[in-house]
């Protein structure tokens, strides 16, 4: 039985896995203690639970527990990593490198630092969404202190070559931060294999609760120091003050543990669903274009442009499916997705794009429904589209000519 609307927006957020919720619940009630309370069992119990979760999160990414700093979410983690490192290492240099397709949490943080006098290089990406390693190499100077490049993109699901980037950064003595929000728990991600110095994580993208994230901060080879952005009681080894969100952290830990256990089988299953969706749409429709590399891509991502159909009107027709569009007809500027533009997608095709984000709770039956529904609405809207009509006339002229 299908449940509507069908949720295929798992890059935006994921539902909390029932196993995660079950783990969390006692920490709202019986075990409500503050993990920083040293004088009674309520506090000890909370601290113990946080320790377990810290280890679970660390194990997901090949880190040690002491290298995990809990935050309110990945936006905070990105801010702490980039501002914290930039301000700490300012004497060493004032140059940062990132990429134009980064999440706004990274881009806007870098823009903020520009106002503080830092120089930031925003590297372009290739047509497939991947960063050009030669350009990255050429951009590094002896004033560069940090490279921040995401592991997987939130719109097009493209996986960056982080192991190569990490190696390059390490050789040049530059710190490497990666926003691993979309990648962690979905594809193998190991901070040592990829020479990552800092990594941002978020619980709610991996079937955990909202409002909790983490920053991995390397402690050895090299030991990374950060200037905190929140001052207070000195929690999280002074890097992030504030009472720990114990239930959230417990849920995050459990979510990470499940992802780790099920990663191999889940990534294969979700890739299968994604391919079923992609093949189905291509069987039903002509002139559809997949945005970003197909090869270097998250299992659950399909970002596709349906030529001649505007994304928002398509969403309106498929309102029993929860997905998102690269079109931004509501904004004053009418600017479509900056990520798609960076890939060289025309504005027209960017307006025609839909992001499907498949996840743990999607089924083949749902995929089949989505293929049928989307195809029917695209066909209907194309019949209403003057652009489709013009293209067909043009084709006829070409054939006759």
């Amino acid at each position: 039985m299908l449940r509507f609307p069908i949720y295929m927006d798992n890059h935006a957020t994921t539902p909390v896995d029932p196993r995660v919720l079950e783990q969390m619940l006692p920490y709202f009630t019986d075990r409500f203690g503050n993990a920083a309370s040293r004088n009674h069992s309520y506090g000890w119990q909370a601290e113990e639970a946080v320790d377990v979760a810290r280890k679970q999160v660390a194990e997901l990414i090949g880190a040690t527990a002491k290298e995990i700093v809990f935050t309110s979410g990945a936006t905070e983690s990105d801010n702490l990593a980039i501002k914290g490192a930039a301000r700490m290492y300012r004497e060493k240099g004032n140059h940062l490198i990132t990429v134009v397709t980064e999440h706004k949490a990274v881009i806007d943080t870098c823009k903020h630092l520009e106002k503080e006098g830092f120089d930031v290089t925003y590297l372009p990406v290739k047509r497939d969404g991947l960063v050009d390693l030669d350009r990255l190499r050429a951009a590094i100077t002896d004033r560069t202190i940090l490279i921040s490049i995401m592991a997987a993109n939130n719109e097009v699901g493209v996986l960056q070559p982080i192991a190569e980037i990490g190696k390059m950064a390490r050789e040049r003595g530059v710190l490497f931060h990666t926003d691993a929000v979309q990648a962690a728990g979905k594809v193998p991600f190991d901070v040592n294999a990829s020479s990552v110095d800092m990594a941002s994580l978020s619980a709610h993208k991996m079937y955990g609760p909202k409002g909790v994230g983490a920053l991995y901060v390397r402690r050895r080879n090299p030991r990374v120091l950060l200037t905190p952005i929140i001052d207070g009681g000195g929690h999280e080894r002074g890097m992030r003050s504030g009472t720990l969100n114990v239930p959230g952290i417990v849920g995050f830990g459990k979510a990470a543990a499940i992802c780790r256990e099920e990663l191999a089988t889940e990534s294969a299953r979700v890739t299968g669903l994604r391919n079923r969706l992609s093949d189905g749409l291509r069987r039903e429709l002509d002139e559809i274009y997949i945005n970003g590399s197909v090869e270097h891509r998250l299992p659950g991502n399909l970002n596709v442009s349906f030529a001649y159909v505007e994304g928002e009107s398509l969403l309106m027709g498929i309102n029993d499916i929860a997905v998102s569009s690269g079109s931004a007809c509501t904004s004053a500027t009418l600017e479509p997705s900056y990520v798609l533009k960076a890939l060289g997608t025309s504005d027209e095709l960017a307006h025609s794009s839909i992001r499907f984000g498949l996840g743990r709770f999607n089924t083949e039956e749902e995929v089949d429904f989505v293929v049928q529904k989307v195809s029917a609405v695209v066909k209907r809207l194309r019949e209403m589209s003057p652009l489709y009509e013009l293209a067909k006339e043009h084709e006829e002229v070409k054939i006759r000519g």
């Binding site: 001649y308 159909v309 505007e310 928002e312 009107s313 309106m316 027709g317 079109s327 007809c329 509501t330 904004s331 004053a332 009418l334 479509p336 025309s346 504005d347 027209e348 307006h351 019949e383 209403m384 589209s385 003057p386 652009l387 489709y388 009509e389």
Partner: protein, 130 residues
């Protein structure tokens, strides 16, 4: 984005979708907007040469639900009007009828432009024909 019931109705049951023969001297065609902006409207009117009244109107639109609804509504209103009456249709009338939110006002502006462009095209054809 939540749409008004009237927008949803026009989106689900668009009036007068289609095309009239562009070459016909009784037909005026307006094509406005740009695909890179996310909105293109083609609006056509056929004018009865005896009465000067618009006896048919068709549209095709690439754009959001509000753009589709604005052009669909425009074709409905155009039928039975003289050219002078047709030119009196203003974007604010469309905004009001469809309860368009501020971010969607440009859709109604585009529909008004499409009406003007179609009528201008028709008038040009009459002059060229003389």
């Amino acid at each position: 984005m939540s749409y008004s019931e009237k927008v949803i109705d026009h989106y689900n049951n668009p009036r007068n979708v289609g095309s009239l023969p562009k070459g016909d001297t009784a037909v005026g065609t307006g094509l406005v907007g740009a695909p890179e902006c996310g909105d293109v409207m083609k609006l056509q009117v056929r004018v009865n040469p005896e009465t000067g009244v618009i006896d048919d109107a068709k549209f095709k639109t690439f754009g959001c639900g509000s753009a589709i609804a604005s052009s669909s509504l425009a074709t409905e209103w155009l039928k039975g009007k003289t050219l002078e009456q047709a030119l009196e249709i203003k974007n604010v009338d469309i905004v009001q009828e469809l309860s368009l939110p501020p971010v969607k006002i440009h859709c109604s502006v585009l529909a008004e432009d499409a009406i003007k462009a179609a009528i201008a095209d028709y008038k040009r054809k009459q002059q060229d024909g003389q």
